[in-house]
Amino acid sequence: MELEARLSEQEQETKEVKTLAASSAAGANQSDGTFTGNPLALDIMANSAWRNLRWTQEEQWADVRKGISEEKVIELLGSPPRSLDSLKPRVDKVFWYETSLRDRSSVLRGKISFKDGKVIVVKIPTFQAVKQALQSR
């Protein structure tokens, strides 16, 4: 079953690559051609974005709490863009979910600390400030 699942996953990835390639080729041949015109490409991009950026959705953080496992955090938020084996004595590992390291004005910055594979500290991004910033535009 696992082999079948892996095969299926590989096929899906191959399909995605072929679709993107076809879209790019089509884009090159069409005057208004952009691969965003291809609904399949849009779907792939959306899935990819969801896989990598679901931590930017406030509701995804609702179930992230002390005691849950590292695997559960990744399932809820996706793999972190940056992680580290912490040098602090009582922390094993840290996940950072952030938009930009150098963008000090960015408030969308979350941090999760683990000990023995379980969450011990959660710092949720300040989504409220982001909403206010968007509303003020």
Partner: protein, 368 residues
């Protein structure tokens, strides 16, 4: 400092797969560290007094991590050394095929699975290693390490990692460093090989146990036990246990090894090189670490090593080392270690000579 925990370290070595990293894209990420220190060492060996102090970048390492599921690969580039002997080396370079059942096959150059203490400063509780006697030049040896535990080797290994168990077996070019950097050879007495086996189990109550061993068949012409002439067998058995409860971590380790090929400290070209036939070594450590706050911890360690040689020269050397260390984490990736170590030893080749060494060190580690 998670990977200082013994079992975790074993698993890291087993799976050769890191999860702490800066992600560049789905296939590539990086991790690494920089390590600098100031140390002052005073050594007394018989009538010889030597003193040494040093501020230096001890090591900088960048690991390239590739992930092409189910295959991962890692290349560690390290800058290390001191006293004008710095060099950049490929510390590790390997590829791993991960099976669905927890098994993995790794080929390349990788770290030994043996030993409680981590290979890198980011995984240590102290500045110094347990089996380092801090010789500031008094003995005339080129190394102050009296450890018999293996380092890095090239070969192929199979590892299995369960939720609470680990097993690994490795066929490699060397264990104690006689070979020419490859597994195999021609018919000209240079076909050394080594085997390493390790297993561990972790309990729900914080206890873990590790048992491993390594054997190397040195295939040389005999001669003077230089890198390519070593001929004979050597082995080491390594066992340790760790116990973690609350803010405390305790560890105990014992090693026993024998060498016919002159690669342990007394008979080694890098060590004292007494030109013996066989060397027998027993070493051990006990350690306790207490994290008294979110950022800081104290460590106490006592380590012991006893070397005996037979043959042309019968020598007995033993060293007892006391270490206290303090660690303070300014942040998750910046760590300051201070250490004070005292070594009390004796070297007896028919005439007994006392050995003493005092080390003070401050070390700053930055990791990413």
């Amino acid at each position: 400092m998670k990977n200082k925990i013994a079992l975790a370290a074993a698993f890291m070595a087993a799976t050769s797969y890191s999860t702490a990293e800066i992600v560049i894209n789905d296939f590539l990420s990086f991790e690494g560290f920089g390590d600098m220190s100031y140390s002052q060492t005073d050594t007394e060996f018989g009538d010889v007094d030597e003193s040494d102090n040093s501020f230096a970048i001890d090591q900088v390492e960048i690991a390239w991590l590739f992930d092409f599921d189910p295959v991962t690969a890692q290349i560690d580039l390290a800058y290390e050394g001191s006293d004008g002997d710095q060099e950049t080396v490929v510390e590790q370079a390997f590829a791993t095929y991960h099976m669905d059942n927890g098994g993995a096959i790794t080929a390349g150059r990788y770290a030994s699975m043996l030993g409680f203490e981590a290979f890198e400063p980011t995984g240590l509780y102290q500045y110094s290693f347990a089996y380092d006697i801090h010789d500031a030049g008094a003995t005339g040896a080129d190394t102050s390490s009296v450890s018999i535990l293996p380092g890095y080797a090239q070969g192929v290994k199979f590892t299995y990692e369960g939720d609470m168990t680990f097993f690994g077996i490795s066929l490699q070019d060397e264990v104690f460093g006689y070979d020419r950097g490859r597994l195999g050879g021609d018919n000209d007495d240079n076909s050394s090989y080594g085997v390493e086996v390790a297993g561990s189990i972790a309990m729900d109550n914080g206890l873990s146990f590790f048992l491993g061993g390594a054997y190397e068949a040195g295939d040389g012409t005999g001669g003077d036990a230089s890198d390519t002439d070593a001929d004979g067998d050597s082995y080491v058995i390594n066992a340790y246990t760790t116990f973690e409860t609350g803010a405390w971590i305790f560890a105990a380790e014992v090693n026993y090894g024998e060498s016919e090929t002159g690669r342990f400290f007394l008979d080694s070209p890098d060590g004292i090189d007494v030109n013996a036939e066989d060397e027998e070594v027993l070493s051990a450590l006990i350690m306790a670490n207490f994290a008294y706050s979110e950022r800081a911890s104290f460590t106490g360690r006592i380590s012991y090593t006893d070397h005996e040689t037979d043959g042309a020269q019968e020598v007995d050397a033993d060293f007892l080392k006391y270490t206290i260390a303090h660690g303070y984490a300014f942040s998750d990736n910046l760590f300051l270690v201070t250490e004070l170590s005292y070594v009390d030893g004796e070297y007896d080749n028919g005439a007994s000579t006392d050995y003493e060494s005092l080390l003070g060190a401050v070390e700053l580690i930055f990791s990413f």
